[in-house]
């Protein structure tokens, strides 16, 4: 008897799941039929949440601005993937149920590697603000706002060599992270070509990132003048603290992953003075566009925007420009929108926050010049 009851309950539960899953979306898709639906996927919770939330905020800001202009109307929906491949695919599927026509995402690299082939199969246009592996844009429906890892690694090596920042270099990187090892491999290659000496090449993994005394000690003993950190800011903070503790006074150079250092709560920001990073966006930049964006962002979210917010903002504007160019309207289905946008993307030029005159190759990669910034008095200042 008890067993029979539990069976019935279980069956009812399973049916309930299926039923409410399918009714939930039909309600959504009829609402707002005159807007173009932009979906986005990123880590809104978990260790990489700062990136997902920045993209969410930046994109929302751009969507609100565009909607205020009249003309084409956008609606934005951001789903959480916790920086996990499986959850990212689930989020993608639920966005499809919502009736997504364009995908602005995903934010992080590993999930994007899995989602990009899905979008190619469904023929949904993909523009990722910040996922940087070159494989993401392998199909012709995918485009990137940010640089690819190889470009970033090469650009960093070239920047260091061309500006004579140092010749003796130590690298500390996260070998378990796709972004970090991607930049690392290409940096090393480019460094060798540019005549830079890599004296210490130390790795850590995501399980082993609380104590960096060994890596810093090795870098120090190698006599390197500059430590290259192609990693995310949380670990960079610990490394910089460890360097300070050991009295190792070398220059620090990082990539866009270091963007966020200044937002760490309770960190001693005086240690971050003179940290250099290669990022396409500096919040202190004097041009009108950036200043407007930063002011609005601060007003709405009470925070200084980072590069990810800027990438997302540019991404939405790129979609908007391409939509205008191709004459996309809200009643088209996702596949038609994709066909039109694919073509239009290569024809547009965008003056955005992360670069003047951004253009896209048919391969999906963006064409813009990287900027280097330096932390001075607790704020980013453009170098050069």
């Amino acid at each position: 008897m008890k067993k029979a009851l539990s069976m019935v309950l279980a069956a009812a539960m399973a049916f309930g799941c299926v039923a409410c899953g399918s009714t939930g979306n039909s309600k959504e898709s009829t609402a707002n039929s005159n807007t173009i639906k932009i979906g986005s996927i990123g880590p809104l919770t978990g260790g990489a949440a700062i990136y997902g939330n920045a993209v969410k905020n930046g994109a929302q800001l751009a969507v609100d601005e565009i909607n205020a202009k009249g003309g084409l109307q956008f609606s934005l929906r951001v789903e959480d993937d916790e920086n996990d491949v499986e959850k990212s695919i689930n989020a993608y599927n639920s966005l499809k149920d919502w009736g997504m026509q364009v995908l602005l995402g995903t934010v992080t690299t590993q999930p994007c590697l899995a989602v990009a082939p899905e979008t190619a199969q469904d023929n949904i246009f993909l523009l990722t603000p910040s996922a940087s592996a070159p494989e993401i844009v392998a199909e012709d429906n995918a485009f990137q706002v940010c640089f690819t890892d190889p470009n970033l690694g090469t650009a960093a090596a070239e920047y260091i060599a061309d500006h004579n920042l140092a010749t003796k270099i130590a690298i500390i990187y996260d070998s378990s992270e796709a972004y970090s090892s991607g930049v690392h491999d290409n940096f090393k290659q480019a460094a060798a070509e540019k005549g830079l000496e890599v004296l210490a090449d130390e790795a850590f993994t995501s399980d082993n990132k609380t104590d960096f005394s060994v890596q810093v000690q090795k870098a120090k003993n190698s006599g390197a003048e500059l430590v290259f950190l192609p990693i995310y800011y949380n670990e960079a903070n610990l490394i910089i603290q460890e360097m300070n503790k050991q009295g190792y006074d070398a220059a620090i150079f990082g990539c866009d992953g270091l963007d966020g250092l200044l937002t760490i709560k309770g960190a001693d920001t005086s240690l971050f003075e003179d940290v250099m990073l290669l990022t396409p966006f500096a919040a202190d930049s004097s041009d009108e566009l950036t200043q407007n964006f930063v002011a609005k962002y601060k007003e709405t979210y009470g925070d200084t925007p980072n590069q990810f917010a800027a990438d997302a903002y540019d991404g939405v504007y790129a979609i908007w420009t391409a939509c205008e160019q191709a004459g996309v309207t809200a009643d088209m289905d996702a596949s038609d929108v994709c066909d039109k946008l694919k073509e239009a993307m290569t024809q547009i030029t965008l003056n955005g926050l992360t670069g003047e005159g951004m253009k896209w190759e048919a391969s999906g990669e963006v064409n813009k010049t990287p900027k280097a910034v330096k932390i001075v008095n607790g704020a980013y200042v453009s170098m050069e």
Partner: protein, 363 residues
């Protein structure tokens, strides 16, 4: 009717399990063909099968053998990578069904070998110590896979623990496993039908093992090790048997999982995944195979259904977990439940139902 009644209770129980899986499969197929099932649900079908296989196989170690294993994701990753590497190299040249079946088998065999290698030292320990060592082995496997580079060219396989350039591939060569980035650009192969078949095979093997002579020996080790040893049961052999079978099915589930996505990275197989599967097992009831199936399905679908709740999603999920645990396990609630059921059965419909049942039994 008589034939059914004469079945052994265990056989009857097993048939309910198979029936449940089949009914679920048929209902889903009908819904898919009718176009009622949304993308989100369709996307979850293969992961559901994966987690069901994982939960059932872990239940063999935790529930039947009675040893807490926290390294299930490690075996899953061994299977996933070996199956996926095979699929990348030669699977695409064969017909999908043959290639996929071979990939699953290779995944199972490799995970089984690792199960044996790890089981031999680990199974000398008991209880908490065993749990901690399995946790450690799971992490070791993950970290090795994180650092490994595998390439394939006309000369065969190339391995390296350093970087891609150290592989020394010729022009025809391609990098298959690229360190932390893992495998990318894999053609997908997993389908819900394949997943269901794997679930049924898993159930068939494990349920039959439990009711067999070997299964009774395994359970006797769990219930009283000394008594089992005294009756002449070879403890090491049966422990290892359960452990290897469990690992091997985890490996097969890994292949199913890997071939459902176009990328595969070792990062996924950390101890969180092991714990997730353990949660399914514990919530479904340790040693209760049907419970594992239901718990894995419900708990996998739940967070996706809660997407509407946005930021509160994981909070609600945790609350639901706690509530379910109390509902299933707390002695007070269990007492209240049986009280409630007997109250219902005393009144009205249920009473009539029982009366009818009794009558039919008398006939």
């Amino acid at each position: 009717m008589n034939a059914i009644k004469n079945l052994k209770p265990s056989t009857c129980n097993n048939l309910i399990n198979y029936g449940m899986v089949l009914v679920f499969y048929i209902v889903v197929q009908i819904l898919v063909n009718a176009g009622v099932l949304n993308n989100s649900m369709q996307g979850m079908l293969v992961p559901i099968c994966t987690y069901v296989v994982l939960a059932v196989s872990l239940n063999l170690t935790v529930g039947i053998l009675g040893e807490l294993s926290l390294g299930h994701a490690g075996f899953m990753s061994v299977g996933a990578f070996s199956g996926a590497i095979f699929w990348m190299i030669s699977g695409s040249q064969m017909s999908p069904v043959v290639g996929f079946t071979l990939a699953i088998m290779i995944g199972g065999i490799f995970a089984g070998i690792f199960g044996a290698l790890i089981g031999i030292p680990v199974l000398r320990l008991r209880g908490d110590y065993l749990a901690i060592v399995t946790l450690a082995f799971g992490e070791i496997i993950k970290n090795l896979l994180n650092a490994i580079y595998v390439g394939w060219d006309s000369n065969g396989f190339h391995f390296s623990m350093k970087d891609v350039s150290a592989l020394g591939l010729d022009e025809s060569g391609e990098v298959i496993v690229n360190g932390a980035i893992g495998i990318t650009g894999m053609p997908k192969a997993s389908t819900f039908t394949a997943g269901t078949i794997l679930v049924i095979i898993t159930l068939f093997v494990i349920l039959n093992l439990i009711t067999s002579r070997a299964g009774r020996a395994i359970m006797s080790i769990r219930d009283n090790r000394i008594a089992a040893e005294a009756t002449g049961i070879n403890i090491t052999k049966y422990k290892l048997m359960a452990f290897i079978i469990s690992a091997s099915f985890a490996g097969m589930a890994g292949v199913l999982y890997a071939l459902n996505f176009s990328t595969l990275a070792a990062k996924k197989f950390d101890y969180n995944t092991s714990i997730l599967v353990l949660v399914f097992v514990v919530l479904g009831g340790i040693g209760n195979i049907r419970g594992s199936i239901i718990a894995a399905t419900v708990l996998y679908v739940l967070p996706e259904l809660l997407r509407e709740l946005q930021d509160y999603r994981m909070l609600i999920y945790a609350v639901v977990l706690i509530a379910m645990m109390i509902f299933n396990q707390s002695p007070q609630v269990l007492a209240w439940r049986s009280n409630f059921v007997s109250k219902i059965s005393r009144s009205g419909i249920a009473a009539r139902f029982i009366k009818q049942k009794r009558q039919s039994e008398e006939v």
